[in-house]
Symmetry: C2
């Protein structure tokens, strides 16, 4: 019942819910006229912007399944995903047109359509064929009452293995939005800033919260710390979703300028939060809320309230109502404090992976989503994420969590960021390797770094080798890609010193 | 994740969620020790207070079905309800003990238990038989994850016909609470005052919102306008649920004192709001939100946001997300503006009436709840409630809505409240009768009242007869009981002047 309230703020575009509904209806009618129908999988290769939002709601009006694609992928990677889901159509914009053509090469049945980003999806394609508006009264806020219907297929950012398409329903988004509102509260003047890609679940979740809460989404085309700070300071943004690298850049750009009281929450997800970053937030009173989430559970699963930031440092909080968290297996919950795989159960958990029955069954066995992440839950029910299970290094029978070693490395004042991976070792099975980016103007030797670690870590956790780099590979969501890192230094790792000792 | 936050404020009792959980667990163990088990229907005859809240959550821990009973009913009326639902136990307090005994007379299998209201349900009954606490980690906020399970059976306030027991699930309460939060917002410091009976769905809904939102319920034993005003002014109450007579008394008691900005919303339901009351609220800036709701849909169905109070005067707003409203029938929606029966569809609609298959089927035919209320929806989707269908007066083929005539009568400065009912008429089939309460110190004749109405209403709507009374019959929820009114003047109505003309 809020058709006149703002729904979307993106650059110069300011759409009310009624306007969003009208725009989405227009796109839907055009797509329908071109044959897009309920159940079709429609790939969307669009930059953040109003047309992305209009297309999202247009597809849900049609009952079509949205397949948002990562605009940073190469044509051949896109082609593989288009084939994997059997896309019926591919929607692109001016900037992604060439890549779309490239990706669709050899797929003559794939219908492509461009939407115009100047006008926010108003490219005049066969206007004459537009069918008459339906007699049904338009629902200004959200037409997603069929909660069990699939809204979209979201490719995981694939930090390990081949990207899988996660099937999420309207109900998954609904429960995620509701759980978040019950956790963070919901103010009439809330506005949520999306400066991360909308094609990832963390960005998409903001669009659904907007229509479910009746609040505007503020959409930035890309992440620009100055722009984000400006909108926090002057545009009444109350909530922002960020990944750690973004938050660090936000803080760097602000200098000593405090956040205004209108900013309620910096929702921090996508990757484990480095300790110095959390400390900096505590120091300046930034209302940071570290979260744990994943595509397979429609984003946020657990969130630490800003008020608990000091008391439960390093935790990602408890599960969002009514989701459940468990460490261990579907039959047995690990005792408090014990590290094990993080399991999730509840209405935000995906239907499964598109076209991958065996992987779906494995991920959802026993009624719990097996996240592949390792963590523990303390006596008060707060979750601490330790690492990806796939990235675990087992060295001489001892578990080494790369994130722990990275945390220590990043405590060194000369190291800007670090990635830790396993290397094969004839002696220990696996040993620890590190890749670091040294701060501009600093000089550091491998020896110094290893000595720094040796004072802070058990011997078997100290990196055997340290490589230097100018940039660590990250996914579009800002997550360190240890798989890329492993591939990058695979050749070098072969030369692993098999005689090293001191385990 | 808020065990230390306040859950309940009632008199001197201040319970955190952890404390509420502990108290509820204690009551649950005692009841279990006495044989109360999952699926049992347990009648609860308690005044508003902490013990009511503890018992509510104790029963949901046990999986027992709560049957809250109206403490104003006579023993024989209670007995009928106990038999109707097949209650296994009856829980009472000191004040209701005699009535409980009375009601249970002739039911030797009905186990009765008293809870102590001094200590908030800590009466020491067979402490030694208390089983060991379960190993399951207690869930501080709400254990109601089985959304499809029946939470309680709520007797309708029976403004017409025999009271029916409405079966509501945890899911009904959950969706109701979520829809309300999405409509009114949810602030971290919210606290919701319950000054209406908790045994009615309007009061019970506050208890569920409390545990679902993680905010305190402030519970008053009974409605005292001074106490309510005091808690609004000094105890940080942000939301209050009231019926129109309560709100009128609140305003009368305040005089010219404005409401503090901390008060976000006076949720006004239970009965149609008289126009002068809404006007008074507008005048003083009281944040009133008229609602439409009913037991069969777990309280609120539609609510008018305070910001729309001026623009959509007299409306009860739009449906709470994701419920749907319709005027007409399950197959056909009436056009905007046309009066018809109000239908409701969505996840807050009851399972059905306990033990009344035919009435359930009739109420839920075609997948829509048939409310028995008449109303219309305007072109913007806002609902206006016209009257109860059962109270409709059809006079010479013309529809007369008693509420409309009552509204006109109550516009007369000398009339404090009015009730309008149908009378049998040999000439017109039915005609209009009115019962009015004249303000203290005023004098009014039947002739004056009819003349007043004749200037404002079509002839067939003008009451043929006006009776005077000191008090109109109202239900515990403050709703005018036209049925009682009809019964009261039934004898007199026989004397109906069959020669009256001027229709």
């Amino acid at each position: 019942m809020s058709p006149a309230r703002p729904a979307l703020i993106a650059g110069d575009h300011r759409w009310s819910f009624a306007e969003l509904d009208r725009r989405a209806g227009r796109v839907a009618r055009r797509l329908a006229a071109r044959g897009v129908a309920a159940g079709n999988r429609v790939a969307v290769l669009l930059r953040n912007g109003p047309q992305f939002v209009a297309v999202t709601h247009a597809l849900s009006k049609l009952g079509a399944v949205m397949v948002p694609m990562n605009i940073r992928l190469a044509g051949c990677e896109l082609a593989a995903q288009l084939k994997e889901v059997g896309a019926a159509a591919l929607i692109h914009d001016r900037a992604t047109a060439a890549r779309a053509e490239d990706a669709a090469h050899g797929m003559p049945d794939l219908w492509r359509a461009g939407v115009d980003d100047r006008e926010g999806c108003d490219e005049p394609i066969d206007e004459t064929a537009t069918p008459a508006p339906t007699a049904e009264k338009a629902m200004p806020r959200c037409a997603c009452l069929r909660l069990s219907a699939v809204q979209g297929i979201f490719f995981t950012s694939a930090t390990s293995g081949r990207a899988k398409g996660v099937r999420l329903t309207f109900g998954n988004h609904w429960w995620s939005a509701v759980g978040s509102a019950l956790n963070l509260g919901l103010l009439p003047d809330d506005r949520w800033l999306a400066c991360m890609p909308l094609y990832h679940v963390g960005g998409m979740a903001i669009l659904w919260r907007s229509v479910i809460y009746g609040i505007p989404a503020v959409v930035h085309e890309s992440f620009d710390p100055e722009m984000v700070n400006r909108d926090i300071d002057t545009a009444g943004v109350t909530l922002v979703s960020v990944v750690p690298v973004m938050l660090q850049r936000l803080l760097d750009a602000r200098g000593q300028r405090p956040f205004p009281p209108t900013l309620r929450c910096l929702l921090l997800g996508g990757a484990p939060a480095p300790q110095p970053l959390l400390e900096a937030c505590l120091r300046i009173g930034a209302p940071v809320a570290p979260t744990y989430g994943l595509t397979e559970a429609a984003s946020q699963v657990a969130t630490l309230a800003p008020e608990d930031a000091g008391r439960k440092f390093g935790s990602v909080g408890g599960p969002l109502f009514p989701s459940e968290l468990r460490i261990g297996g579907p039959r047995r919950a690990a005792p408090a404090g014990e590290v094990g795989e993080i399991l999730v159960r509840g209405p935000t958990v995906m239907l499964g992976y598109a076209g991958r029955r065996a992987e779906t069954a494995r991920a959802l066995r026993g009624g719990w989503l097996h996240t592949g992440d390792l963590g523990y839950i303390d006596g008060d029910g707060y979750l601490y994420v330790v690492d990806r299970r796939d990235d675990l290094i087992v060295s001489g029978g001892e578990n080494v969590y790369p994130a722990e070693v990275e945390r220590v490395l990043e405590e060194h004042p000369g190291i800007e960021e670090a990635g830790v991976i396993r290397m094969r070792s004839a002696v220990w099975g696996q040993t620890v390797g590190a890749v670091v980016k040294v701060r501009v103007g600093m000089q550091l030797s491998e020896h110094e770094i290893r000595a720094f670690c040796a004072q802070r870590l058990a011997g078997y956790k100290v990196p055997r080798h340290v490589w230097f780099t100018d940039a660590l590979p990250r996914t579009a969501a800002g997550k360190l890609s240890r798989r890329s890192l492993r591939e990058r230094i695979e050749g070098i790792a072969e030369k692993e010193d098999q005689t090293s000792s001191g385990h």
